[in-house]
Amino acid sequence: MTKLKTNNVSKGNMARYIGIAAIVAILLSLPAWGGKYAVMMVMLMGIYIALGQMWNLLAGYSGLISLGQQMYIGVGAFTVAVTSNYLGLPLPLGLVCGGLVSMAIAIGLSYLLLRMKGMYFAIATWMFAEAMVLVFVSIQFLGKGQGLFITAARKLQAADVYYYSIAILIISTVVVVVLLRSKIGLGLFAIRDNDTAAETSGVPQFRSKLYCMMVSSFITGVIGGVYYMSQVWIQPYAAFSISWTVAAVFIVVIGGIGTITGPIIGGVIYVFLSQYLSTLSQIGSLSQVILGVIAVAVILLAPKGIVGTVQNRFGFEIISVRRWMGKYTDRLPEPTEA
């Protein structure tokens, strides 16, 4: 393990960090020199990459296939509208509130959801999301199905929302990396590789998965807030639409499930593809069909997605989450004889 920390590697790391810094610099300065269209595209990429990272945190690392991410999007968006319209809170604070409300819902549901596996978890999350929209469209001050305007968001410039989006992109990616490199992440890998062995070796399954659900719901809630700040008007059936989860699944499956770079690459592809498809007239809902066909084909033919397939062939990782694991291996309990 010590060999990993030779000069070569730290030089490689240096180059890596410089590269990342350069990308961040380009992203931050884009509104100053980029066109309107470029700013909008990158803003959408930020949102969708973050969405993918959060779904991947559950599906790729914790083995939890959530089909209810749209629940957090909708809740986050409506919280921003309510806090700013009715309570007069500033938008950034509203975003945090949106994240917190989403997280509170996730914590409440987790005691039920985390006892389920596989299909039960998947369908139950879907069911909760469907139930949630039924509740939301029946409440008067949430617009009763007509939706709500985020009044304060009308004054926002495109660049403002852009920076929120870049912030959420960076935060979501960093949080996933940090989380997975922590002891929780180690536990998750153990769970993913072998459920019962991880439990008997003292890795607290429930807590690790709960943390992931909390992080995922919080950030997805914020994503919902940011996206609907750019739209100004929240239409409940769109905010709670399963197509949010469809997008997340597509992004992660195409990019590579269980990798950090997968959602990034998948998110970029998704935004380009869906923008391109939306320019084709007469295509309508066929664009979703095309996304679905591509995703199914990738699962069948290249189950590890673009990043996983490239990694397999060339044997390198752009951002590894297992790198720091050496640090923790000495804390693992002694393996017992079977």
Partner: protein, 285 residues
């Protein structure tokens, strides 16, 4: 009071149909050990296929079963053989995601070709009913319930009495041992999925005659099917029947008590309570 009795009767009859909605999903979950997230969408697909052939034949919905049943069988067999069989043994996630993808594909294809407008399979029986005492029994509900129960019984006989049915049960008990008996597992899975789709197709045609449907109705019936699987316990054919009745009763009676708008929410609540109290199902051994 009469209204309540009416609701109970309607709930019971709807329950028989709900059992047929969930039957195929329960069977696939028990045998192939995968969750078909597109089960509801296949059911809705059958509604639209029936709609098409009603136009072609100028016939009633039930008559179109002659074509709907074989078409659904081949769709199920084909999906299993070309896609799902390829990911067996690769864990829970790939089949879940593939069927999710199929669900999205079906839903949006229907949306493209048939628009989002409400559709209904116009049946001459829809408004007919006969009265028993103070309550009236809608004929179409009764027929749906009878057909739903008949499918369940027929499947039960098929599974117990034929080589193929036995092979399907044997496969779900112990896949490798079934292989050793000379069962071709992949083809058996294909047949099982075909049968599952036939049950979904028949249920779909009945549902489509009773209620409006849209391209997006699939998730509603997926949740009905899921409820039937959860309440009935996995792979228990007759448990499915009771589960359908419980769920149908809960929805209709709940809707009667709290108002029609809450019919679906009451269903979700029942399912939720089941998941908390007895996730392995009421009728599992």
């Amino acid at each position: 009071m009469d209204g309540m009795i009416q609701a109970i009767i309607q709930g019971l009859l709807l329950g028989g149909l709900y059992a047929a909605v969930g039957l195929g999903m329960s069977m696939i979950f028990g045998i192939v050990k995968i969750t078909n997230l597109a089960h509801g969408d296949f059911l809705v697909l059958a509604c639209y296929i029936s709609l098409l052939f009603m136009g072609v034949f100028h016939s009633s919905p039930l008559t179109t079963l002659i074509v709907v049943v074989p078409i659904m069988f081949f769709i199920g067999f084909g999906v299993q053989r070309t896609m799902l069989n390829k990911v067996i043994g690769r864990g829970d996630e790939p089949p879940l995601l593939i069927t999710f993808g199929i669900s999205i594909i079906i839903q949006n294809l229907l949306l493209y070709f048939f628009t989002a407008n409400a559709q209904k399979l116009a049946s001459p029986l829809l408004l007919k009913s006969f009265s028993a005492g103070t309550v009236s029994i809608p004929v179409l509900y009764l027929i749906s319930c009878i057909i739903g129960v008949a499918i369940i019984l027929a499947l039960g006989v098929f599974m117990k009495g034929t080589y193929l049915g036995k092979a399907i049960r044997a496969t779900s008990d112990d896949t490798e041992a079934a292989t050793l008996m000379g069962v071709n597992i992949k083809s058996t899975f294909g047949v099982a999925m075909g049968i599952s789709m036939v049950t979904a197709g028949v249920a779909g045609v009945l549902i489509g005659s009773l209620f409006n449907f849209y391209p997006s109705s699939g998730s509603t019936y997926l949740i009905v099917a899921f409820a039937v699987v959860v309440i009935g316990g996995i792979g228990s054919i007759y448990g499915t029947l009771w589960a359908g009745i419980i769920f149908g009763l809960a929805q209709v009676v709940g809707g009667f008590v709290f108002g029609a708008a809450f019919q679906q929410l009451v269903g979700y609540a029942v399912l939720l309570i089941m998941l908390i109290v007895r996730p392995q199902g009421l009728f599992s051994k």
